[in-house]
C-alpha cells in the first residue's frame, strides 16, 4: 500500500502514526530481541538480509528442556510479547524454510508454526516465491512468467534454472530445502557496561572530574576492545552530597571507540555544568554498544562528501552534547494547511539514522522566511472584505503599495480549534513585504510573517 493511500485511510490526527522507514532502528530493535532470545538458545543471529526482519535461533536440542519445540517457540513468542512486540515463530529443519513459513504464513500473528521433521519441502510448496529470499529483480522476472508460488518454480527442470534466472535461484532453493547448509552467525549482543569511581573525600571542583571520567572511559573501552563495537550512547552521572544525583546523556550519530571523542563531548557538557554540591561518586555507563560498522550510515545521503559528512556529524554531536538534543534540529515540511503547523522540528540525533527526505520546493515567494511564533495583532485599513491599504504595527505606520490575496486557509472538523483566515502578502511603499491575515471569525487582522 502506498503511503498516500494509507494516510487517506487513517487521517493524521487519528490513532495511527506515520514514521519514515528507519532500517537502522529496526536493526537495533532486533539486537535487543537477540538479548531476549539468548536465554533460549546459545546461538542467536540476525537475518543477514540488507533490511533484516528476523531473529534466528538454533533450536537443535533446545526443545527437550521446554517439553517440545512448540512449547519452546511459544515461550520465545511470550518473551517477545512481554516487551511490547508481536511476532511469529516457525520451527523447521532449515533456516530458509523456517524464515519462509514465519514470514509468509497467513494470519500468523503471535502464532507458533512447527513444520514436522522432513516436511519442510511440502510446507514450502504453496508459499509465494518471495519466501525463498530471492532478489527483487528475480522475483519480478518470475512474476512476469506467472511463476508465483514455490511449487511452480520447483516444477521447472533444475538444469534450466541457472540459465533462465541466474544462479541465485538455485542457491535460494537449495538453502530452503537444506541441500546447502546455512549457518548462523551468532550475534554478540553486548550488555550495557558500567564503571564507577568513588572519591575518598568529596570534591567540589568540576575540573577534577575530567581525569576520573577519562579513567572510567578507558576501563569501559578496554572491555570491548577487539570486538569491533563502539559506544553510541553514554550516561554519566554524579552522586552529589545532599542533592539528587546529576545524570547527563551523551548520544552520538555514529558509534565510536575513540576515547578522546567521547571525552571531548563530556567536556563540552561539563562547561555548562553547575555542581549543586560536593561529588562523592562518578559513574559512566555505555548504554548503547553497537557494531562500528554502523559508522557507514550516510547521514546526508552522500551530498556533503565523505569528509564533510564526518565534519557535520561531529558538529551536530558537539552541539547536541553541550546544548541538548532539543535545540539542534532538523526541519521538515508537514502537509498541513495551517502555516504554523506546516513544519516540524526533530532533534537531529533522533532522526539522523533515517533516510533523509528531500523537502526541496521550487522557488516560491508565497511564504515568508520569518514567521512569528504567535501572530501579532495589527491595525489595518481596508475596504470591507477587501485588500489592506494601510497598516499600523508596533507603533509604525505603513502605506501599502501592492497586495496579493486573499489566499483563504481553513481548517475544519478534524481539528478542535479550527481556523478561517484570509492571507495577504503586502508590499509597502518603502519596499518592505509582510504576510498578514484577517481572522474571518473575529474580523481581526494579524501579521504572521515578514520577508525580512
Amino acid at each position: 500500500m502506498l503511503l498516500a493511500d494509507a494516510e487517506s485511510l487513517w487521517p493524521k490526527a487519528g490513532a495511527v502514526r506515520f514514521e519514515p522507514a528507519d532500517p537502522l532502528a529496526d536493526r537495533q530493535r532486533l539486537r535487543e530481541m537477540v538479548v531476549v532470545c539468548q536465554q533460549f538458545s546459545p546461538t542467536v543471529a540476525i537475518d543477514v538480509a540488507e533490511s533484516p526482519e528476523a531473529v534466528l535461533l538454533d533450536a537443535t536440542g533446545c526443545g527437550f528442556g521446554f517439553d517440545g519445540e512448540a512449547r519452546f517457540a511459544g515461550d520465545v513468542i511470550a518473551a517477545v510479547r512481554e516487551r511490547g512486540f508481536w511476532g511469529v515463530a516457525a520451527v523447521a529443519d532449515t533456516v530458509g524454510a523456517a524464515w519462509a513459513v514465519a514470514r509468509h504464513a497467513a494470519n500468523a500473528r503471535d502464532r507458533v508454526l512447527v513444520v514436522p521433521p522432513g516436511e519442510h519441502r511440502r510446507a514450502l510448496r504453496p508459499l509465494p516465491i518471495e519466501s525463498l529470499r530471492l532478489s527483487a529483480s528475480t522475483v519480478e522476472v518470475l512474476h512476469e512468467l506467472n511463476v508465483a508460488r514455490v511449487e511452480q518454480l520447483l516444477a521447472i527442470p533444475r538444469d534450466q534454472l541457472p540459465s533462465r534466472f541466474g544462479v541465485e535461484v538455485l542457491t535460494c532453493i537449495d538453502r530452503a530445502l537444506g541441500v546447502i547448509t546455512e549457518g548462523l552467525r551468532a550475534e554478540r549482543a553486548v550488555e550495557p557496561l558500567e564503571a564507577r569511581w568513588s572519591f575518598e573525600w568529596p570534591v567540589d571542583n568540576a575540573h577534577v572530574l575530567l581525569p576520573v571520567i577519562d579513567e572510567l572511559l578507558g576501563r569501559l573501552l578496554k572491555e570491548v576492545r577487539g570486538q569491533d563495537v563502539g559506544f553510541q550512547k553514554l550516561l554519566w552521572w554524579l552522586r552529589v552530597e545532599g542533592h539528587d544525583q546529576v545524570c547527563l546523556p551523551i548520544e552520538l550519530l555514529r558509534p565510536t571507540a575513540v576515547k578522546a571523542d567521547l571525552l571531548e563531548l563530556i567536556r563540552l557538557q561539563m562547561e555548562r555544568l553547575r555542581l549543586p554540591g560536593e561529588v562523592t561518586d562518578v559513574t559512566v555507563r555505555a548504554a548503547r554498544i553497537v557494531p562500528l560498522v554502523y559508522r557507514q550510515v550516510d547521514l546526508f545521503g552522500g551530498r556533503i562528501g565523505a569528509t564533510g559528512d564526518e565534519d557535520v556529524t561531529g558538529l551536530i554531536e558537539r552541539l547536541s552534547s553541550r546544548l541538548g538534543n532539543a535545540v539542534v534540529l532538523r526541519p521538515r515540511l508537514v502537509p498541513d494547511a495551517q502555516p504554523e503547523l506546516a513544519y516540524q522540528y526533530d532533534p537531529w540525533l533522533a532522526v539522523a539514522t533515517r533516510k533523509p527526505s528531500d523537502d526541496r520546493e521550487p522557488m516560491r515567494l508565497t511564504r515568508p522566511a520569518i514567521l512569528k511564533e504567535r501572530p501579532e495583532p495589527i491595525v489595518v485599513m481596508s475596504a470591507p472584505g477587501g485588500s489592506p491599504a494601510w497598516l499600523k504595527w508596533d507603533d509604525r505606520e505603513y502605506a501599502i503599495e501592492r497586495s496579493w490575496g486573499p489566499e483563504r486557509i481553513e481548517t475544519g472538523w478534524w481539528r478542535a480549534a479550527d481556523v478561517r483566515r484570509d492571507y495577504f502578502t503586502v508590499e509597502t511603499t518603502d519596499g518592505e513585504r509582510f504576510w498578514l491575515f484577517r481572522d474571518l471569525a473575529a474580523g481581526q487582522w494579524f501579521v504572521q510573517g515578514s520577508f525580512a
Binding site: V312, L319, E401, W404
Partner: protein, 241 residues
C-alpha cells in the same frame, strides 16, 4: 607641519590594513563563489563571494529582504552539497518559506541556542566545521574581538558566515569581507516576483561602492503547499509618499 604622505605610501598603508582585515587582493586564479545572481556576481571582487569569509547582510528596513536574499544565496551555494546551519535564537525561522527559496531542509541544522553567549559559541563551532557551506543567523551586536574570532573560524572551515544585521545597528567592524545592504524595489516585478536593490558596501570589484539589482522569481509549483481556494490577485495602489 609634517609633509603629507605620498600616494604610494598611502596605498601601502591601505593594503596593510586590508591585509589585517583579510581583504587582501585575490589572485587572478581565485574566483569567487557565485551567489546565483549574475547581476550581483558582476559587481563583486572575484565575481562572487570569497570562500572562507564572513558576509554581512543588512536590510534598509525591518522587512526588506536581507534574510530572504541571504537564504536564496545560501540555497544556491548548497545546491551541490554541504550543510546549512541556521542560528534561530528568536524561533522565527520558517522552514516552509526557506524551502520555497530552495534551502535543502534535509541538510539544514537549526540551532536555538537560548542565550547570547551560547549563540556565539555555536556560531564559532559552525563556522569552523568544513562541511558547513553557510552559517546564517541574526547578529545584533558583536564585539570586534568576537567578530575577529568568527573570521578566523570561517577561514579555518572554508565555508561562509552570513551575518544578518538589523537596520540601524551600530556599524562596528565585523571583519566581514563582503557587506551588503538590501532594500526592496517598490512596485517591481510580475506577480510575486521581488526585485531587490543590493548596495555592495564592501567586497566590490571596483574602488567605490557598487549597486546591483536582483530578482527573486516566484514560480508556481504544480503541487501547492495549501489549497488556494481563492486565487491571489495582484492589486496595485498609488504610492502614498
Amino acid at each position: 607641519m609634517r609633509a603629507p604622505l605620498s600616494p604610494e605610501r598611502l596605498q601601502e598603508l591601505r593594503e596593510r590594513i586590508r591585509g589585517i582585515e583579510g581583504l587582501t587582493e585575490r589572485g587572478p586564479t581565485e574566483a569567487g563563489l557565485s551567489t546565483g545572481f549574475a547581476s550581483l556576481d558582476r559587481v563583486l571582487a572575484g565575481r562572487g563571494l570569497r570562500a572562507g569569509s564572513l558576509v554581512e547582510w543588512r536590510g534598509d528596513a525591518n522587512s526588506s529582504g536581507a534574510m530572504t536574499l541571504a537564504l536564496a544565496v545560501a540555497a544556491h551555494l548548497a545546491r551541490d552539497g554541504g550543510a546549512i546551519v541556521v542560528l534561530d535564537d528568536g524561533h522565527e525561522f520558517y522552514p516552509v518559506g526557506a524551502a520555497g527559496l530552495g534551502v535543502p531542509l534535509d541538510r539544514t541544522v537549526v540551532v536555538r541556542a537560548g542565550d547570547p553567549a551560547t549563540g556565539l559559541w555555536v556560531w564559532e563551532q559552525a563556522l569552523r566545521a568544513p562541511g558547513v557551506v553557510v552559517t546564517i543567523g541574526w547578529l545584533k551586536e558583536v564585539h570586534d574581538r568576537i567578530a575577529r574570532r568568527f573570521q578566523l573560524a570561517v577561514e579555518a572551515g572554508g565555508g561562509l558566515g552570513f551575518l544578518i544585521r538589523p537596520p540601524g545597528a551600530r556599524a562596528p567592524a565585523t571583519w566581514a569581507v563582503t557587506r551588503f545592504e538590501v532594500g526592496g524595489v517598490v512596485g517591481s516585478g510580475n506577480e510575486l516576483d521581488w526585485k531587490l536593490r543590493v548596495r555592495v558596501m564592501r567586497g566590490q570589484a571596483g574602488p567605490r561602492e557598487a549597486m546591483a539589482e536582483v530578482e527573486l522569481v516566484h514560480e508556481a509549483s504544480p503541487v501547492p503547499l495549501v489549497s488556494e481556494l481563492a486565487r491571489p490577485v495582484a492589486k496595485r495602489r498609488k504610492a502614498r509618499r
